[in-house]
Subunit: 271 residues, 2 copies
């Protein structure tokens, strides 16, 4: 039987935890893999837990009982979160991002794994205690961010579509009024998507007036599910009347100044 040193075990245990966020891993997984005693693995885990907490890079939680084990919970220090939000403001302020109609081009950012994975950690850590069952988003731009948050919360992602597709089976559709344009839009979701009574978090790229979020609440109600949190990358603060009051954002976008520069800053108290 192969022997493993503590260093080797710690590297593999760290990798396994990081790759399975918020999922309880039974200690037997490690005792069997390494042919090691439970007490040995517990000592390894203590080292990992201790250093992650010291560097504020997330935590390791122990769950007792028959279905017990350990799980990794993502996290980022206040300092690193603020550094990220400031860097993001800098990237978003690039003049080339202003497109006709006074929109901010963010497609590349929403598809940049390095940015989205950090944003995902910041948003997921807000909802970690909410017993979340699903992360919900509306196609298309918010999908990578919503996927990251779902992965970090250890739950399924649900993508609401704009129209019905034959590959979705029976669907449920609702109409809602877009808060910023006032137009009626529809959203549709496969009947198979959500279990009754589930807790859902809504993740999107932008929060403007909140019409989409309100639509999501209505849609979830049809599935007898509750919305327990909303997280967006960018909050458009220049939109006066918000249909939704409570949500988390990382960056505030306050329109354009007289020279046509986007006015951006980290959201107050987002950490």
């Amino acid at each position: 039987m192969d022997k493993f040193t503590r260093n080797q075990r710690i590297s593999i245990i760290t990798k396994t935890l990081i790759e399975n966020p918020n999922k309880v891993i039974n200690l037997n997984t490690f005792t069997e893999l390494f042919s090691a005693a439970k007490s040995t693995i517990s000592e390894d885990l203590y080292v990992i837990k201790d250093i992650l907490s010291r560097l504020k890079l997330g935590g390791v939680e122990t769950i007792s009982g028959a279905a017990g084990g350990v799980k990794y919970v993502c996290g980022l220090s206040e300092e690193k979160s603020m550094e990220f939000a400031n860097r993001l403001c800098g990237i978003l302020a690039d003049k080339d991002r202003v497109i006709p109609g006074n929109f901010l081009y963010v497609t590349d950012i929403m598809c940049n794994p390095q940015i989205i994975s950090t944003a995902g950690i910041i948003l997921a850590s807000k909802f970690i205690g909410n017993n979340v069952d699903y992360v919900v988003t509306v196609e298309t731009k918010g999908i990578p961010l919503a996927y990251e948050v779902a992965k970090l919360l250890g739950v399924q992602l649900v993508v609401v579509r704009r129209d019905t597709k034959i590959t979705e089976g029976s669907t449920l559709s609702i109409n809602y009024v877009s808060g910023s344009t006032g137009r009626i839009q529809s959203m549709t979701l496969s009947k198979k998507s959500l279990k009754k009574g589930s807790n859902c978090v809504f993740i999107d790229d932008f929060m403007k007036a909140g019409g989409t979020a309100k639509g999501i609440i209505d849609l979830l109600r049809e599935f007898e599910c509750q919305l327990v949190g909303i997280g967006v990358l960018i909050d458009t603060v220049s939109t006066q009347k918000k249909l939704i009051k409570e949500y988390v954002s990382i960056v505030n976008f306050n329109g354009f100044d007289e020279d046509g520069n986007a006015v951006l800053m980290p959201t107050k108290d987002f950490i």
Copy 2:
């Protein structure tokens, strides 16, 4: 100054590498973080590299020169890849997945982070040597898988849209013929999305006749970019005439048998 033990350093270095796949990390990042000598960090890295390679869980590569450092390259053992493909066939064979029109419902699978992250590792490891600049997909179902592959290859994701959006700025559109339905469809992509002369990998949920993949090749040609690989989760082998010959898939879907059961098996030689 805080001191760190080898165990602690190995845990944090492992986490940093895993969270930044295929990205070169300069050794100074670690020597500064731990106030340790380069030789010490090199020894730490040797332990990580050695155990990952022994358990076939990916690799650590050293890049020399001024811009040098180390990077983590994802990987999964043949045994685990086959185990995953077999498990996926079992999940897909569920009778509840058959929807009117003889389609297989896969939306939940394409949005399941645990499944998609493993599928992402299998597909990304096929393209790791291809100098990939972008991972491209077409909205909507393939986005999470394409995002995972992009993240694991350390590159940007690009999502081709079905129609033009005002938030995309100037776009380039093409029409193409769907290989399975024969209908004319269009795809559109923001002009800002791709740099000339880039190498792209196309990732999607299904490969039927290959019409979408052919459309992607045409679209990339308009951007003066090359397609260097195609990866899908499921290959519909019952579609006789394929417009595309070379691609990687994990599972073969061979239609339904007389009792209406989906016929599925791991793709031959996919490992």
